[in-house]
């Protein structure tokens, strides 16, 4: 099931077209279409939410919110602005980061401190990459694995922790300009890898 989602996520043209058809059905009020969309992408979105929040119950809540929002806003989805899976990832990530920020705003006990410490990326650890075995997915995995830590860590802090570039610079005690440059370099490598170029 999630292999399909992975293929669509990487830009598989057929998958993207199937997604658009599903969203059109949803816009027409076909509630069964939401189930189809769930079957195609829930695995990817749940994994993302869990990676951000590190708690299953929170990830489940986020997925509930995300799919409810997608169901309500299906009519407003503009096909020219991007892929459906891109939209789903954006909605889910945004909801998950909102929840993460709420959690951080709570008075921090030891438990909260531990959770935040756990959420920080470990610079010595290679990225967990469990992608579909498609060629495109393999390219992404290779590109990410090839990133030097000083590029990968700021990217992870931005994407999974929702930190701003200034916050990342402060946390890593690195000048803001350097952080910006490294993040741009990291993103360019990933983009090139997705386009089939050498990373």
């Amino acid at each position: 099931m999630w292999l399909l989602a992975a293929l669509a996520a990487i830009g598989d043209a057929a998958g993207a077209e199937i997604d658009r058809m599903i969203v059109r059905r949803m816009a027409g009020g076909d509630h069964l279409a939401l189930g189809d969309l769930y079957d195609r992408h829930a695995h990817l979105l749940f994994s993302l939410a869990l990676r951000i929040l590190r708690e299953r119950s929170d990830a489940e809540d986020v997925l509930q919110e995300a799919f409810s929002q997608v169901w309500r806003q299906a009519k407003r989805f503009e096909e020219g602005r991007g892929t459906v899976v891109g939209w789903l990832v954006t909605v889910t990530r945004s909801r998950a980061l909102d929840r993460l920020r709420q959690r951080r705003a709570q008075p921090g006990g030891i438990e909260n401190f531990d959770r935040m410490a756990e959420a920080l990326p470990d610079p010595a650890r290679a990225l967990d990459v469990h992608l579909a075995t498609s060629e495109a997915a393999e390219r992404v995995r290779s590109a990410l694995a090839a990133l030097p830590d000083d590029q990968r860590v700021p990217l992870e802090l931005a994407y999974y922790e929702g930190l701003s570039q200034s916050e990342i610079a402060a946390k890593l005690q690195t000048p803001l300009g350097t952080i910006k440059t490294r993040m741009r370099q990291a993103l360019r490598r990933l983009r090139d890898a997705l386009e089939g170029g050498l990373s």
């Binding site: 999630w2 992975a6 996520a9 990487i10 830009g11 009020g29 509630h31 939401l34 189930g35 769930y38 079957d39 829930a42 695995h43 990817l44 979105l45 749940f46 994994s47 993302l48 869990l50 990676r51 299953r56 990830a59 489940e60 997925l63 509930q64 799919f67 409810s68 169901w71 991007g82 892929t83 899976v85 891109g86 990832v89 954006t90 990530r93 945004s94 990225l127 967990d128 990459v129 469990h130 992608l131 997915a137 992404v140 995995r141 990410l144 990217l155 931005a158 994407y159 701003s164 570039q165 200034s166 803001l176 910006k180 993040m183 741009r184 993103l187 360019r188 990933l190 983009r191 997705l194």
Partner: protein, 265 residues
């Protein structure tokens, strides 16, 4: 810091915007710029898949099986409900209500008449059913009456006893009886003299040590009768059947004249 958002500064932010890593004024500035700058819009399209790819880098975990059901239940559209006519003017609504009320009144009247008709039909039907039941009861009784002599006549232990009229009281009378110890007795008689008032014919099993009553007989106006009697099964073996004339209601032992006699052996 990006205090001034010129094209070059914004273009550098587009990749971060593409993965959703911008917020606040930077995000708003990029969004506004994308509407007017084709170059940056193209740049965004190139970076959009990166955001999805980063989602895929997360360790892949299956959501719980119950989550799908929960999400579909939470988003399922409510059943369409009747809309309230908010735009209808009040007097129009009132007029509509009047029409509906009048219509309902007429309908109720029609219903009441219909109910009365149906009640009448129901009563008639019940009377017919009652009558039918009565007829069935009579028929059943007749069938039972017919069945009793048949049962006697077809009994394996049935015995035929012919009775002869006795002079001088009933020289012309005659009778024939069929008796089964287990099922009873059937007797047919003819030419019996009319009974004086307060008297009745009584049939006897003539047996030792004393005669035993087999029942009372009432002939019709022609002196004929056919009747079935249930008789005691413990009667001693009779030597004969006899008919005497006795006081109305019958007696324990024969007292009157003998009108008919027939040997049972």
């Amino acid at each position: 810091m990006t205090d001034v958002f010129d094209h070059d500064a914004l273009r550098e932010l587009v990749p971060l915007y593409g993965i959703g890593a911008l917020s606040g004024p930077e995000r708003k500035a990029v969004e506004a710029h994308l509407d007017t700058c084709a170059e940056c819009a193209a740049e965004l399209r190139a970076y959009a898949p990166v955001g999805v790819a980063l989602a895929q880098v997360a360790p892949q975990v299956d959501p719980p099986a119950t989550l799908r059901t929960a999400i579909l239940a939470a988003t399922r559209p409510a059943q369409p409900r009747a809309r309230t006519p908010t735009s209808v003017m009040p007097w129009l609504a009132a007029a509509a209500m009047l029409v509906i009320t009048a219509g309902l009144g007429f309908y109720v009247g029609t219903l009441q008449r219909r109910i009365q008709t149906l009640e009448g039909e129901l009563r008639a039907a019940l009377v017919r059913v009652e009558d039918s039941e009565r007829r069935v009861t009579v028929a059943l009784r007749a069938a039972a009456d017919a069945e009793a002599p048949l049962a006697v006549l077809t009994a394996p232990d049935v015995r035929r006893i012919d009775l002869a009229g006795q002079a001088p009281v009933a020289p012309a009378a005659s009778a024939r009886a069929f008796w089964s110890r287990s099922r009873g007795l059937v007797i047919t008689a003819a030419n019996l003299p009319p009974l004086p008032s307060g008297r009745i014919y009584q049939l006897w099993f003539v047996a030792a040590p004393a005669p035993v009553s087999a029942g009372l007989l009432t002939p019709d106006a022609n002196g004929s009768l056919t009747t079935t009697l249930s008789t005691p099964s413990n009667v001693p073996n009779p030597t004969a059947l006899a008919v005497t004339i006795e006081p109305e209601g019958g007696v324990r032992a024969p007292t009157g004249a003998m009108y008919l006699v027939g040997a049972a052996m």
